[in-house]
Symmetry: C2
Subunit: 157 residues, 2 copies
DNA sequence: TATTGTTATACTCTATAACTATA
DNA sequence: TATAGTTATAGAGTATAACAATA
């Protein structure tokens, strides 16, 4: 791993002291995700598969027939925000939405053949993107990082 | 650290398989930051100091007289987006904005006494918030996490 | 009563393009 | 010509409240 100084920001040759901010994990989380987001957009350019859409495709693929609400709860997406996302995926021809046989309020979601193909294609691109972003970390460090992030995400607030 | 399963999401007793998504660092980064953001808002409620504003206060405190553009570059905030943020902080009485003696295009920023006080108060709240979010990690793990995140944020895209 | 999906809405963050005044 | 700050604008993510249909 490089000799990254946590307390300063380097830009165009200028090193600026971040003050107390540099010691805060939340700040580094934000900057790391910002870098991830920029490269994610590059990696999937042209596919129309934003991060949220990829997550939905992945969860439906792993749980065919799952309801819209269950997908949202698994991914931390509000019910209200799921509507437009599922509409997009249905409109793109990647998701089939049918009335659930068990519960007439709910929808049963499955991937179409095109949806499976797009999931595979975008997964390949995203893997390459992650490889680029994590090139400075060993496999053990990546596992440790993922575990720590999952631990944080699971904190009961 | 807890026995967090990276491949499933637990919600109200339901364990949902995330599929390929569960193996992606970018996803765990997003969820961890989401949890951080929710608790950050709780921690600073009533202060009006959002994450971006805190960062700006911290950088100005560590670099009195710094220009608006330098602050933005240090924090990864676009020039265009800095304007409203600095306006807010000036309006709140936390930042003094004066014409730079060296360069009449630029502004020289310093904290007011109230700005220093608010930085201190919000820093205390944010430290408590980070302690809560990182309770499951040892000090060594926190250092490792911060270093890995800084490494990721520094990747040349 | 509670839940599913829906609509409407709003706030924050981020991004780009074009303008002005200075350098 | 390049840079500092500004304005306008747009996309994406996330949040809440209220509603209809169904459980």
């Amino acid at each position: 791993m490089g000799v990254t100084d946590l307390t300063t920001a380097e830009n165009a040759g200028d090193a600026v002291d971040l003050g107390i901010l540099g010691s805060m994990i939340g700040y580094h989380l934000r900057r790391a995700l910002g870098a991830f987001n920029i490269d994610y957009a590059r990696a999937v350019a042209g596919t129309g598969i934003r991060q949220g859409l990829f997550g939905i495709l992945s969860v439906i693929a792993a749980n065919p027939g799952i309801s819209q609400g269950m997908v949202g709860r698994a991914l931390g997406i509000q019910r209200a925000n799921m509507v437009a996302l599922i509409n997009e995926l249905v409109g793109m021809g990647y998701v089939d939405r049918e009335a659930s046989p068990d519960d007439r309020r709910a929808f049963s979601l499955t991937l179409t053949a095109a949806g499976h193909a797009m999931l595979q294609e975008s997964a390949v691109r995203i893997r390459e993107h992650e490889e680029l972003m994590l090139a400075g970390l060993t496999a053990a460090q990546r596992r440790s990082l993922a575990a720590m992030l999952a631990e944080i995400a699971a904190v009961e607030i």
